[in-house]
């Protein structure tokens, strides 16, 4: 006769093998876990790009001198801003904003060159369409840098060969081109993993209730923890596959670097998955039907992972209350961990606090799910 633990393992295996069959036989599960994330990553990765590229710029050059043309050239040389034509006055620029022909307008007033030569402070006006705040902010920063560079050039040219006394040399590490895909893809991976993992398991226990099989299970000697663990295992496997697929896709389609160790990456992914699968179990233990479980699962994973994980909106910029709430969102730790491993080449020696946070979350939700899982039909 097998010992207690041996018998328990057999029952967990029975559950896992059965659940594996459900997965293999249900094309929706496979699509949801493997097809959809890649599709979404593709759409998001290209669509949610914050890189400034070919922003239409209207030019109101009232000075019409060599200096003013040099300024316009300096702004549009990198093709991040593209001149869409000249306008007679600033009022016309506003009209161009409304008609969405331009997002920014450079106004060089008459007397620009003369003031330059007279060594006066020269005002140059940049009008920006602020309707899209994200574009507007990046645009302002970009334009500011370009104008500063131009003004530096003018100053140096005037003073001659003398170097200015202080020169800041900015050197951006890890993502020198500021490519938003590098920033977004780790976040997206965490986000996609979060919603699919929660949904996958949210459906399984609710499914047992709906199909009536819970009655047969409860009448058998299988324990609650055995049911929970047996259900977790196959989805953990599926989730890991999804994780690898998403990261591999990010590396091939978006040139995402992989500077850290695969071990650190896999460990973070595994522990994160455990927590999200556990959250799905908790949802389905409470919901008892698949429709409610789907909605609760989506709401509890999608919104927090999207808004509070730091995937898009930096946590440092959030109000203090939201910063505190984000501490219980597992995606926050995975986003941070993934960026660390992929972009900076960090290992667990640096990222262990993220790992610990993820582990605590996993233990708490799986514990809660098991405790809330009443061995009662009514």
């Amino acid at each position: 006769m097998k010992g207690r633990i041996g018998r328990s393992l057999v029952r967990i295996y029975a559950m896992a093998a059965k659940e594996g069959r459900h997965i293999v036989r249900d094309p929706r599960t496979l699509y949801m876990s493997l097809g959809m994330p890649v599709l979404l990553l593709f759409l998001f990765g290209y669509g949610v790009a914050f890189d400034i590229d070919r922003i239409p710029l209207a030019v109101v050059d009232q000075d019409r001198t060599e200096s003013s043309r040099a300024l316009v050239h300096a702004l549009t040389a990198s093709r991040e801003l593209v001149s869409v034509g000249e306008l007679p006055d600033p009022a016309a620029a506003l009209g161009a904003f409304r008609k969405e022909r331009a997002v920014a307008a450079l106004v060089v007033e008459k007397g620009y060159e003369r003031a330059l030569l007279a060594r006066e402070v020269v005002p140059v006006q940049l009008l920006v369409d602020g309707a899209d705040a994200l574009v507007a902010n990046q645009l302002l920063a970009k334009a500011d840098a370009l104008v500063r560079a131009e003004s530096q050039r003018l100053a140096t040219a005037e003073v001659g060969e003398r170097t200015p006394p202080v020169r800041v040399k900015v050197w951006t590490r890890y993502n020198p081109d500021g490519r938003s895909a590098f920033y977004m893809v780790p976040g997206l991976a965490a986000y996609l993993l979060a919603i699919t993992a929660v949904l996958l398991t949210a459906l399984t226990i609710a499914g047992e209730w709906e199909r009536g099989s819970m009655e047969q299970l409860f009448a058998s000697p299988i324990g609650r923890l055995e049911i929970v663990l047996g259900k977790l295992l196959p989805y953990l496997g599926l989730g890991l596959l999804e994780f690898l697929l998403v990261v591999a896709f990010g590396m091939t389609a978006f040139d995402l670097p992989m500077r850290g160790s695969g071990f650190a990456l896999a460990t973070l992914g595994l522990v994160f998955l455990l927590g999200m699968l556990g959250q799905g179990l908790l949802v389905s233990v409470i919901a008892k039907n698949q429709t409610v479980a789907t909605q609760a699962g989506t709401m509890s994973s999608l919104l927090p992972s999207l808004l509070l994980s730091g995937m898009i909106f930096p946590i440092e910029n959030m109000p203090v209350v939201l910063q505190q709430i984000s501490r219980v969102i597992p995606a926050r730790y995975l986003v941070h961990g993934l960026r660390g491993v992929l972009l900076k080449g960090n290992g667990l020696d640096v990222l262990w606090p993220d790992l610990v946070a993820l582990a605590v979350f996993a233990v708490v939700v799986i514990g809660l799910a098991t405790a809330r899982f009443q061995r009662r039909l009514a």
Binding site: A14, R211, G212, S213, E215, Q216, A219, P221, G223, A378
Partner: protein, 317 residues
């Protein structure tokens, strides 16, 4: 004591001797509905006990209570001398729920294999039992068919096979013949008798009165309580009312007259005719009242259905 048992070829009493099933004052409400209202009965070891009653009588709740699957508001359910929700009981009880409770996308063989693993049966034992169960349920040719592609009767037999894999001492069946064709139904009952012969205790619920007659003992349930209990022949022998067929007459007017007469305990259509249960000694007067409508009374032998209908009406009056 030990020797005496051994001499009679009986097993020594285990921990938890006593009746196989015991329900004592079981009560459970679901919101406004009282499903169990002080239900009490016992099923001895090796007995085939039928729980009979109309839909909504509380049969399913009673079986779930004995399977330890629901919380009780009051009373105590015991199985093999242990509390019904005791973990040790689960290895020794088999349950066949009323609704679909297996995995639809798994085949016959995969469902069986799953439950054999849940009960941690050694592979050899599983193979031997599955083979025999597939043979007696005649499911062997459908081993690879998905459960959701089985007919109603085949599905029930598969559910029965799954509930029997671990050779339970007690088998609980909730309306096992619901939605099953007559041939499969007869086969199922033949199997139950075979199991009881082998020493198994079987509790079966059914809304069909003809099935009740096949049980060793039956309990009639209505509104969460037991109305009467006993062996079917004894119950019929003790039936004090009389059963008649009403022939002729205009149906509507006859029914109106019957409804007006308190001595008529039950009336139900039997083909063209009406079958009624009348209090003993009240038939002569009823016959006189029906004569002007062109209807006559013909005595018939009372059966189970008459007995139960009459008791339920009496209870509800």
């Amino acid at each position: 004591m030990q020797e005496l048992h051994a001499a009679r070829g009986e097993a020594a009493p285990e921990a938890g001797a006593g009746p196989a099933l015991s329900a004592r004052g079981l009560s459970r409400r679901f919101g406004e509905v009282t499903a169990l209202d002080g239900l009490s009965f016992e099923v001895g070891r090796g007995e085939l006990y039928g729980l009979v009653g109309p839909d909504g009588a509380g049969k399913t709740t009673a079986i779930r209570a004995l399977a330890g699957l629901i919380r009780l508001d009051g009373g105590e359910a015991r199985v093999l001398g242990l509390a019904a929700d005791d973990h040790a009981v689960r290895e020794r009880v088999g349950l066949m729920p009323q609704q679909f409770s297996l995995y639809r996308d798994l085949s016959v063989g995969e469902n069986l294999r799953f439950f054999s693993r849940v009960f941690v049966l050694p592979r050899e034992v599983y193979r031997r039992r599955a083979e025999r169960l597939l043979e007696i349920t005649r499911l062997a040719p459908f081993l690879d068919r998905r459960a959701d592609a089985l007919s109603g009767g085949m599905y029930k037999k598969l559910a029965l096979a799954c509930a029997l894999l671990h050779e339970p001492e007690v088998l609980l069946l909730d309306e096992p013949t619901n939605g099953v064709d007559p041939v499969s139904r007869r086969e199922l009952w033949a199997l139950l008798h075979e199991f009881v012969h082998g020493g198994m205790t079987v509790l079966v619920s059914t809304p069909y009165m003809d099935e009740a007659e096949r049980c060793g003992r039956v309990g009639l349930m209505n509104r969460g309580r037991l109305l009467l209990e006993g062996a079917p022949p004894a119950l019929i022998a003790g039936f004090r009312d009389e059963a008649y067929e009403v022939r002729g007459g205009e149906r509507d007017r006859v029914e109106a007259e019957l409804a007006r007469t308190p001595a008529v305990r039950a009336a139900s259509p039997a083909g063209e005719r009406l079958r009624i249960v009348v209090a003993r000694g009240a038939s002569a007067e009823l016959a006189r009242a029906l004569a002007p409508l062109g209807a006559t009374l013909a005595p018939v032998t009372p059966d189970f259905e008459d007995l139960f209908l009459s008791r339920i009406r009496e209870e509800e009056a």
